[in-house]
């Protein structure tokens, strides 16, 4: 990917974020109540005049576009405002949560890919045979299973019945072992829930790759079967896979969200949920923009990676 194309993509992502911020800002305005309503609820001595004065002070009586303009101006200068729920600047609230989510997703994703690659390739190579069919049934079950229910089942088995593992996240525990143990169930849930989609993508990409002419050539010149599969076919299967995985990232974030809620994992998903439930609209708005920004960046990375993996795109037809 050339520098020019990269700049173009970045500009595109920025414009997308800008449009999104306006849309979500409008949506947030449509949620029940406004900040002054919440102040009234918290302070019984407030009169209607006080409320009107406060609305005037904070500019809540101004038209939507004007309010958005003010918000955008201060957001661009680095001031995203405060979280009502936590009494902290939103970025200070979001950042540690984002790290927690990235850690959970990173570990789960690593484990998922490590399991999905051998299983997916194996299924593709043995297409139509018993092992392939068994993996197929597993995948069908996997994509049909609600992730949060899987989490509940695992809690029921490992925490309630067997008592081996904690049911919730204890990330602030001083004991490393406790922290690690509390990660097992959320990671396991996310891995099991995501595995099926990845195996399916991998299998179909590998089957397509194994049909290509250069595979026949490789076999004809006497390449060993493992080399044909892992070097010639797997490499050809990679570019479409990268795109598929990155496109799934939005879904993955969603999956992580539900799992976070089940296991009380202090990540972005739980934060967004708490923000919406606790009428902390500024936090919800900024949280969503941060999540969307991450997904957009990941999509951009996928495009760049695609170029690296597939020489036909980088060379631009010069080869």
């Amino acid at each position: 990917m050339t520098a020019e194309a990269l700049l173009y993509r970045m500009a595109q992502a920025l414009v997308t974020l800008l449009v999104l911020s306006f849309l979500v800002y409008t949506l947030i305005g449509l949620m029940p109540g406004d900040p002054v309503d919440l102040m009234i609820a918290g302070n019984p001595h407030m009169t209607a005049e006080d409320a009107a004065r406060l609305r005037d002070l904070y500019g809540l009586d101004r038209p939507l576009l004007a309010r958005y303009g003010t918000w955008l101006a201060s957001a661009l200068s680095g001031d995203l405002g405060y979280s009502r729920l936590y009494g902290l600047p939103v970025l200070d609230v979001i950042f540690p949560r984002l790290l927690n989510t990235l850690m959970l997703m990173g570990v789960a994703l690593g484990l998922t890919v490590a399991l999905a690659v051998p299983l997916g390739v194996f299924a593709a190579v043995r297409k139509g045979r018993l092992t392939d069919k068994m993996i197929g049934v597993f995948c069908l079950a996997g994509i049909s299973l609600p992730a949060f229910w899987l989490g509940l089942l695992l809690i029921a088995l490992f925490s309630v019945t067997l008592g081996w593992l904690p049911a919730g996240a204890v990330l602030d525990s001083p004991d490393v072992k406790t922290r690690l143990l509390s990660m097992v169930l959320p990671v396991l849930t996310l891995t099991l829930a995501g595995l099926a989609i990845y195996i399916r993508h991998l299998r179909s990409a590998m089957i397509d790759a194994l049909r290509a002419d250069h595979i026949r050539t490789a076999r004809a010149k006497g390449c060993s079967e493992p080399r044909v599969i892992w070097y010639h076919a797997f490499r050809a299967a990679l570019p479409p896979l990268v795109t598929l995985f990155m496109l799934d990232l939005g879904t993955l974030v969603g999956g992580a969200m539900t799992v976070e809620t089940v296991f009380a994992w202090p990540g972005m998903g739980k934060l967004m949920f708490d923000a919406v439930m606790g009428n902390d609209y500024n936090l919800a708005l900024c949280g969503f923009l941060v999540l969307a920004g991450c997904v957009l960046i990941a999509n951009m990375l996928a495009d760049m990676l695609y170029g690296l993996l597939d020489a036909r795109i980088t060379s631009g037809g010069k080869a």
């Binding site: 029921a156 939005g250 974030v253 919406v276």
Partner: protein, 284 residues
């Protein structure tokens, strides 16, 4: 034989769920009747699957929950199918700027994290959208709201499919012949292109139903979807989660039903897809 099993299961499940009222009257139990002296009863001949945390019959609530969950899923899938087909056909048929614009929109929607967006959307105040307070708090308001929201975010895959198929068909001889005969564009779309892409669309809609059941269950589980006392398989799990330590049983049933329903729809969709895939014809 096994290929028809999922369809049979779905039909049976739907029939069972929609005869809930009849079963209720036959057994003389009111599924909304809370009786705290009858909490957490084990399964018995009176309460086939026991009672929940408010002493309500779990079996009947599962059936009523099924009406809601399956109803929302079918409604949302059909709506998403209609929106997606219309947008995809328009984009694929007109090409140029319209196509570019519509596909940018689709790409954007696909890239967005759907669940966080759904959570924000689900929290919207219907009254601020100009809906009367009465309608906004009606018993089935949350049902229509969730179906609409999910449909609004699920049409993207269908639009892409419809667009791809339309672009192929647009170049075909029979469409060009129709145009040469002076057939109007809307008529070509409706009478010549739509019937030819309907099979592809219906497969995708079948798969979407499974996906939507899952989305609804997540939202309801989080407390943002179907609002109690209206039961859905998802919101039954919310309460069951609170009692996972003492009454694990309550958590198993709704999840089993979600899993079974989604599995059946996915199985049917996969099977139809395999049948339609021309690459699979070579070996038959």
């Amino acid at each position: 034989m096994i290929r028809h099993l999922p369809l049979a299961v779905i039909l049976l499940l739907t029939a069972l769920c929609f005869s809930a009222g009849w079963i209720e009257s036959l057994r003389g139990i009111d599924s909304n009747d809370a009786d705290l002296s009858l909490r957490f009863l084990s399964p018995s001949t009176a309460y086939w699957l026991g009672t929940d945390e408010l002493g309500r019959d779990v079996f009947l609530r599962l059936l009523y929950g099924g009406q809601v969950s399956l109803g929302v899923a079918l409604l949302a899938a059909l709506a998403a199918g209609t929106i997606g087909t219309m947008i995809g056909m328009t984009a694929g048929y007109s090409g140029g700027r319209t196509d570019a614009l519509l596909m940018r929109l689709t790409d954007l929607l696909i890239a967005l994290p759907a669940l966080p967006l759904l959570i924000i959307l689900a929290a919207l105040d219907l009254e601020k959208l100009g809906i009367t307070a009465e309608a906004a708090h009606a018993k089935y308001a949350s049902l229509y709201k969730i179906a609409a929201l999910i449909a609004l975010l699920s049409w993207t895959t269908l639009a892409r499919l419809a667009r791809a198929r339309t672009m192929v068909l647009r170049q075909s001889d029979f469409v060009r012949a129709a145009r040469a005969l002076g057939v109007s564009h809307p008529r070509i779309l409706m009478r010549h292109i739509l019937p030819n892409i309907l099979s592809t669309i219906s497969v995708a809609v079948t798969l979407a139903v499974g996906h939507i059941i899952l989305m609804e269950s997540v939202l309801s589980f989080l407390g943002l979807g179907i609002q109690p006392p209206l039961p859905s398989w998802g919101n039954m799990l919310t309460h069951a989660e609170d009692h996972i330590w003492d009454n694990t049983r309550l958590m198993v049933y709704p999840g089993m039903l979600i899993f079974t329903a989604v599995l059946c729809f996915n199985f049917m969709g996969d099977h139809l897809q395999d049948k339609l895939d021309p690459r699979n014809l070579e070996r038959k």
